[in-house]
Amino acid sequence: MAEKVCRKCMRLINGDTCEICSSSDLAEEWTGLVVVIDPMKSEIAKRMNIDLADKYALKVR
């Protein structure tokens, strides 16, 4: 699994720093995936308090 996950916002990250949180606290082990495409209309996104279209992990280690 090449992608890491920012522990703060749970977004999948390709580099070493989260561009949104400026955090480098990344998890290499994570499970579950939610791809939010339309955060304004998505009830899943609302339930997860997500307002940015992106890929998110559900759990991190």
């Binding site: 749970m10 899943i44 559900l58 280690r61």
Partner: protein, 102 residues
């Protein structure tokens, strides 16, 4: 648990996938949805459920298009599910850690 607003009329369709391809199916579905301007709000691939992804969209026809376009997305179950039935997957819970700091 529920807020005043009742969102149980939201359609969440269940799609069968090849086992262990759930994440790649979810990502591909999102790419196709964006490219084809399909009204897909979110795609969910919980770890606990092998061989299935959930697609949040108002229209089942959209799901048919996704299944045709995305490899390893196999078929749609006839009855959509409700947000209340999948929201337990959405609650963040850290995986228990057995590692001691060193």
């Amino acid at each position: 648990m529920f807020e005043e607003e009742n969102n149980d009329d939201v359609n969440i369709f269940i799609v069968k996938t090849t086992v262990n391809q759930e994440k790649s199916v979810a990502k591909s579905m999102a790419l196709v949805a964006k490219k084809e301007h399909l009204d897909v709000r979110a795609v969910l691939a919980p770890e606990e459920l092998k061989g299935y992804v959930f697609v949040e969209t108002p229209r089942s026809a959209v799901v048919d298009s996704l299944i045709q376009a995305v490899p390893h997305a196999k078929s749609m179950l006839k009855s959509p599910t409700k947000l209340s039935e999948i929201e337990h997957f959405l609650k963040p819970k850290p995986i228990s850690v057995g590692i001691t700091e060193g």
